[in-house]
Symmetry: D2
Subunit: 117 residues, 4 copies
């Protein structure tokens, strides 16, 4: 396989949908819904665990969680592709903004949001 | 900047959290919650739009949506990093499984799930 | 059965959890997660439907949706009970505030949020 | 005010939407999305709290959480009303089923789901 990347993932997902004639279902609205559903399936694995337990998942559970992470990335990539958004570029830009919003000197050890600082 | 990739994003997010002493908040359980919250902020942009409208977002809206996509990717990458999961590898493996579950000959033009086929 | 009400539902859920020694899992944090998960299971039924189709669910689907609505109400009631919040009272108060935020003369036929008016 | 109930809430929400000509936006699909968004706003309050902290919210936070609970109940009631589902009846039926699925003798003190028993 070529070097795995989000671009390649987007391309494969595009072909996957084209081959199945699924573009009719893949409006950004619907893809955002599917993304939410997959995220909740990920969340479900953690709902009754303590935070401590969530740090040490047994192998079988970790594999299931990995599959849900895959589904979330798949729908996120598909949605971004449909909208013409580059998700990695957007993420790195967001980190830059977050560096300004949450300067180390102000927020160290605090989970307060910017608006509360 | 080095070639942007999920690995690089994971590394920057690790440093970002370390510098701010935020690892105490970043249990997988909490990160899965934050991921859900960000996904819903993305969903919110689409809730009252028609599917057709969701295909043609005005530029300002598209930029806001792009920021939410960034946030989702950030928390997904952070969660996967904490769990030692490679999200791209997991996604490509999932596509392989989906090719078997949803063969073109069976599902073309249908949104029915595998279980309903 | 006594007249069904949210108070009675809260009482039955309290007994249900007490009998099973499940209060240890029912922190408000966990209940809010479970509520999110159930809401997504409800959402899942609608993700690939058109808005029009969502208005005319076949009986079997409607029954499944009804069960998810039940689950959402169950976790919402349980969470509110744990926090000492009266959900109906809070809802009626919210409607009053919404009457002021969204006066008929300003918003008729528009889905714009207050902040955009 | 008449005795507050979900029926009365449904009636007020119906009138609220009718007066504003908002039924065009209130397809079950869209209402399920709005419900998810509100649930996530509730979840957001808990994402960085420990379970212990979530049991003891400060008054101001509790009030904000109460408003989100109100929003969730509002959209859930509106959705159920649109679909002709009686949410309380569905919830009490679900409790009956859960009594059979999770008998005290089998699940006491365990958060395992039925499928794992």
């Amino acid at each position: 396989m070529a070097n795995p990347s989000i671009e390649l993932l987007a391309k494969e997902l595009r072909e996957f949908a084209d081959e199945r004639d699924w573009n009719q279902f893949h409006s950004p609205k619907n893809l955002a819904m599917a993304l939410s559903v997959e995220t909740a399936e990920l969340l479900e694995h953690f709902q009754w665990l303590t935070e401590e337990q969530s740090n040490f998942l047994p192998p079988e559970k970790l594999e299931q969680v990995g599959e849900e992470i895959a589904d979330v990335l798949i729908y996120l990539t598909r949605l971004a592709d449909k909208l013409g958004v580059d998700p990695l570029k957007a993420a790195f830009m967001k980190i830059e903004r977050n560096r300004e919003k949450y300067p180390v000197s102000k927020v160290k050890g605090s989970a307060k949001k910017y608006s509360d600082l």
